[in-house]
């Protein structure tokens, strides 16, 4: 090797002190991190619970408490920890009397600039979607975010029909976003004129998530009705 001549420097540090110092620093830092984690854990969990409840209560206004579930291919289980592969996490909202007010699940679809992630509420009694809230979106402010304030658009979600077909394997009618002013069926969403793409993303998000989730939980509604 033809390395350039190094300038004369202090004698190299022996290996053992290097390792000792690094170990010391690492141990010190480890202590600080674990301390911070332990100290903040309860507050973080409380925050997360409040945030989740707030989101679910927003789409299910009658709900007063929530339960978390996983829907897998074989049935529905009460959620604990991370979502296992293949399972879909959803939330059940219960009213004051402990009756099932509705089910909230997340849906996502490509919008104008990125995925629009929404939380929507599905009520088993009417087999319809009664509201949605935004989890995350990067739609153009002033255009795409009209989906949360446009009155005509929100009127779609008074009772958007999301009904399962006879053998409960798929939706009877696909939820579809149609051009502004051309809504004819209760399972269609009337898009906002000027924000068609974002409106379409909302419809597709609801449709895709319902197609995946509802057939799985259709046979287990009684299990969900019992508040855990």
């Amino acid at each position: 090797m033809n390395a350039p001549a190094t300038p004369p420097s202090a004698p190299a540090t022996p290996t053992v002190p290097m390792i000792r110092t690094l170990g010391l620093v690492a141990a010190l830092c480890g202590l600080i991190i674990v301390g911070a984690y332990q100290g903040s854990l309860s507050a973080v969990q409380e925050n997360k619970r409040i945030a989740l409840e707030r989101a679910v209560f927003k789409v299910l206004p009658t709900a007063k408490s929530i339960g978390e579930y996983f829907a897998t291919g074989n049935g529905v289980t009460v959620a604990s920890g991370e979502t296992p592969a293949g399972a879909i996490r959803f939330y059940a909202g219960y009213d004051e009397k402990g009756q099932l007010a509705g089910i909230a699940a997340e849906g996502a679809a490509k919008g104008y600039s990125d995925f629009v992630r929404i939380l929507f509420a599905w009520v088993p009694d009417c087999q319809c979607v009664t509201g949605f809230g935004l989890v995350a979106s990067r739609e153009t402010p002033g255009i795409g975010d009209k989906i949360l304030v446009d009155k005509d658009f929100l009127a779609n979600f008074k009772a958007l029909e999301v009904r399962l077909n006879e053998d409960m394997s798929a939706l009877a009618n696909e939820v579809k976003t149609v051009k502004h002013g051309t809504k004819t069926a209760p399972w269609q969403i009337d898009a906002i004129s000027g924000a068609t793409i974002t409106s379409r993303a909302v419809g597709k998000g609801i449709n895709d998530a319902s197609q995946a989730l509802l057939p799985r939980i259709a046979g287990h509604l009684d299990f969900i009705r019992n508040k855990p």
């Binding site: 104008y112 153009t140 002033g142 255009i143 051009k179 004129s193 000027g194 068609t196 793409i197």
Partner: protein, 380 residues
Amino acid sequence: MSARIELRTAPHVKSPRTVETIMRTVVLSLLPICLFFIYQYGISAAASILVVTGACLVAERASTRAGGQSGDIGDWSATITGLLLALSLPPGFPLWMGAIAGLVAIFLGKSIFGGLGRNVFNPALVGRAFVQAAFPTAIASYTPSFLPGRFGEFIPSSLALPFMQPPATDAWVKAMQIDAIASATPLSQFKFEGVVAGFDQLLTSLGGHLAVGPSPLLILACGLFLAYRRYLDWRIPVAVLGSAVVLGWALHAFDPVRFADPGFVLLSGGLMLGAIYMATDMATSPVTPKGALLYGALIGVLTVVIRDFSGLPEGVMYAILIANAAAPLIERVTQPTPFGRGPSSKVRRATYPLTPSYISREEHHAVVPEKGSFKPKVNQ
């Protein structure tokens, strides 16, 4: 009167054509278009043109006063920027936003780069791109043309207070009680509703109450005048329109429902204005003949691609801005071969040094020393 001896370098023979005359002629050629625009939309359009151009002139004056700038308002270039910017905005665009567009166009599009002739991007389009990103709702709100009473009443959105939202014009237009009114441009109607406007309507902008700019036919006529007087490079508009039509035609042949016919592509939106007046801006387009064709073709293709494959209904502005950015590169790769070099020669630059000594030898008919005869002189 004492004779004055001027000492200056070549060129000594000058054409009477100066920056001022060119710019003034372009402004003159724009006047019929502006008048037609005012005829279409009434006093709102007139106010918009005045305010936007005024803002451009104020910005130009301020930045030339601040120093470090070439040019001044006397060279008419800021006037052109203002007029083009106003023509590319909706007629009912709030005047305060128009003023911001004008200020941004000159400050950000021109002064930052050093003034006239040094800007990389077309200033009018920089201004428009800024307000398009800042006020996407207002810039998409068109009103129908040829409304009754347009010379006596402003479009309500024009007079929005500074920094305040313009009122929605839908109700105002509805109160006019006119049949077949469209408040969306033909391009957005096609994009979002699949409606194709009629060819002759688009050509003259006269039929119905289309929400369109001045007639493409008029713009074309003014452009022909400029091209005939050699004030613009005919290659650029020809390449822009040609490539847009060819690509539009190919796509239309492929899927007539999804893609509009080439006539619609050519006459809708700002393609005509962009091709003739904005793409041909001398400072931001390539000077080489091949480069001009390539640059124009890039704009035409990008316009069609943006219109058909993106969420935006119109793409001329971004197409021209992208091509502006590519112009220096296009210029480099399309340098013409110097005379005397074979077409196969890879050398794209003149390689002989233009040193003063070399020139003076030629001028004095000095005997050019033969190869290898340069020897270190020894003082004798």
